[in-house]
């Protein structure tokens, strides 16, 4: 068995280059945010004696009249339309309780899923008893935010062929801030062989076999049942490499996009790095340094 002992890690290759960009202001709790007349108070702020005061550590953002503070670290706050990946925690009361890295468990109602064979009908008590057949505790699924209640409770739906149970892959957790809203969250990366990635806005990322192209939205499609299938060793290698590349980007707090993942992936292939060596922080640091160099 090989045992490697690491020296205390030095600074990240990114630490030395300057500070916060000048347009954005970093605030701490209790700090007064300068305002103009007629502003609207957003998240992460409070009002006291007519002054706007920050309540979280983060950057001040302004969208027309709305002023809010975007924390650089926090749990996921839902927004309608977000693609998220979650794990079923509990079943009961005609709904699935899904863990999504939020302050409360999200809920997926029985009425918010498509029945197999895309049958359109009322959900009966029989369906409620059969819920475990669709999704059992511990299952991982991709889904979309349908509604966010005033107290932050997230309601989900999977009423599209692209959402549903995920299998034949692995889950990576990263800070939710690293996955920005982008054009496509479910992509097949052009690795060799291809790897499917679901970039959940909540920081849960699924890496697995590529999604089947046939799962297209039509009025009456047949739900593409995801089942266990044999994953070949080269396919496993590719999945693990992508997984380690995502973890590498996240360790250095870099944004995750299909492009950035592919760039690091190619850099690791170019450098002829073993998949297993990508868990070594020193190798990862050099890899990220290489990636930054190619970008600038």
């Amino acid at each position: 068995m090989n045992v490697s002992i690491l020296t205390p890690s030095g600074p990240s290759p990114l630490d030395s280059s300057g500070g916060i960009s000048s347009q954005q202001q970093l605030v701490m709790p209790g700090q007064v945010i300068p305002t103009h007349s007629g502003y609207m108070r957003g998240h992460g702020t409070t009002e006291e004696n007519g002054q706007l005061i920050a309540t979280v550590c983060g950057l001040v953002e302004q969208v027309s009249a709305l002023i809010y503070v975007r924390p650089l670290r926090s749990r996921y706050v839902g927004e309608v339309g977000d693609v998220i990946v979650g794990r079923v925690d509990e079943i009961g009361n005609g709904r699935w309780y899904v863990e999504v890295c939020s302050s409360q468990r999200a809920q997926l109602h029985l009425a918010a899923i498509n029945l197999p064979g895309s049958v359109q009908r009322r959900r009966t008590e029989e369906d409620e008893k059969e819920m475990r057949r669709f999704l059992a505790e511990g299952d991982i699924l991709s889904t979309e935010v349908q509604r966010v209640q005033s107290d932050g409770l997230i309601l989900l739906h999977t009423r599209s062929a692209k959402y549903g149970k995920l299998e034949n892959g692995c889950l990576v957790q990263v800070p939710p801030q690293l996955v920005r809203r982008q054009a496509s969250h479910m992509v097949n990366l052009p690795c060799e062989p291809p790897v499917g990635v679901v970039l959940g806005n909540n920081g849960y990322i699924w890496v697995g076999l590529p999604q089947r192209e046939s799962a297209r939205d039509t009025i009456n499609y047949a739900l593409g049942e995801v089942t266990y299938q044999a994953v070949s060793p080269p396919q496993r290698q590719a999945i693990c490499r992508v997984r380690n590349c995502i973890a590498a980007l996240s360790a250095h707090y870099l944004q995750l996009t299909p492009q950035s993942i592919m760039d690091v992936y190619s850099a690791s292939v170019r450098g002829k790095l073993e998949v297993s060596s990508l868990t070594n922080p020193e190798v990862v640091r050099d890899l990220i340094r290489e990636y930054i160099k190619t970008k600038t």
């Binding site: 990240s12 990114l14 630490d15 280059s17 300057g18 500070g19 916060i20 960009s21 347009q23 954005q24 970093l26 701490m28 709790p29 209790g30 700090q31 007064v32 992460g44 409070t46 005061i53 309540t55 979280v56 550590c57 983060g58 950057l59 953002e61 924390p71 650089l72 670290r73 926090s74 749990r75 339309g81 302050s103 409360q104 468990r105 107290d151 932050g152 409770l153 801030q177 690293l178 920005r180 809203r181 982008q182 054009a183 250095h252 707090y253 870099l254 944004q255």
Partner: protein, 273 residues
């Protein structure tokens, strides 16, 4: 963090602490007003939402924040969230091997009350925030060290708070003397000094938590015979000065942590969907 400071049992009995007026030194070379060296760090525990390490002298505290997470019980009983603080002394934190359970409960009680008012719990409906704090070494001033560690960890975790709140411990005692001024004010006692004066009851202690942007007192705990207006005013004045200095360092520490992460993250991108 310097290694080689963990010493479960002192090699020899420390000399009896001394106190004096004016510029003379205490047993560890500080003047009466001096606070020991402080070191702080954010993010030592990567699995937590936010975490912090705080060291003052040889006293070390490590804190981690998990959550907010859902709690059915909280949803039923209250409209606001709750803060759960768990504080433990490491087995090697104190030289004696007596049970620390009672002291842990005592500290948790005070810290919970303080942080329930500092963290804006009404914004975390139906949720519970778990905060753990572990004392790695106790060399005096544990309460304020834990307070600062938790405060920094909470800020690092992006919890909504009223302010950056820092705490310090101050003491005063009467020293028999010929001169008119016979009350001595001391900052930040070490364990040896605490053991000598505090347990004998001749020393008055005051632990103060101050919101450093405004100047409101968020936490105040004092015991002793000298809690009269004159002494309290003196102590609070000193506390404010020290807390502001610690608060300034905390902001710098958080800023450094965020500068590193913000560098890596490309500047603001607009949502495209």
């Amino acid at each position: 963090m310097d290694a080689a400071t963990y010493r479960p049992l002192p090699p020899d009995v420390p000399p009896a602490p001394t106190v004096s007026f004016g510029a003379a030194e205490r047993s560890d070379g500080r003047t009466n007003e001096d606070v020991r060296d402080i070191e702080m760090q954010t993010g030592p525990i990567s699995s937590a939402v936010g975490s912090a390490f705080f060291q003052i002298g040889k006293t070390k505290a490590l804190s981690a924040v998990y959550g907010p997470r859902q709690s059915m019980r909280q949803a039923r009983t209250s409209s606001s969230g709750a803060v759960n603080i768990d504080l433990k002394f490491a087995p090697f934190a104190v030289p004696s091997r007596t049970s620390m359970a009672e002291r842990e409960r005592y500290l948790v009680g005070m810290l919970s009350e303080a942080f329930e008012s500092i963290i804006l719990v009404e914004r975390y409906a139906k949720s519970v925030i778990d905060i753990t704090c572990i004392v790695l070494e106790d060399d005096g001033g544990v309460l304020s060290a834990c307070f600062n560690a938790i405060s920094l960890a909470a800020a690092h975790a992006g919890l909504e708070m009223t302010d950056i709140v820092t705490a310090t411990s101050l003491y005063c005692m009467e020293v028999p003397s010929d001169t008119s001024q016979n009350v001595v004010y001391l900052s930040d006692l070490t364990a040896a000094e605490e053991a000598c004066w505090l347990s004998s009851g001749q020393c008055t202690e005051m632990h103060v938590g101050i919101a450093t942007s405004g100047s409101s007192i968020c936490f105040l705990h004092g015991t002793g015979s000298l809690l009269n207006p004159t002494c309290a005013e003196q102590l609070l004045g000193r506390a404010e000065e020290i807390c502001r200095a610690i608060g300034k360092e905390m902001r710098a520490c958080l800023k450094a942590a965020y500068a590193a992460s913000q560098n890596a993250a490309p500047a603001k991108t607009t949502a495209t969907e």
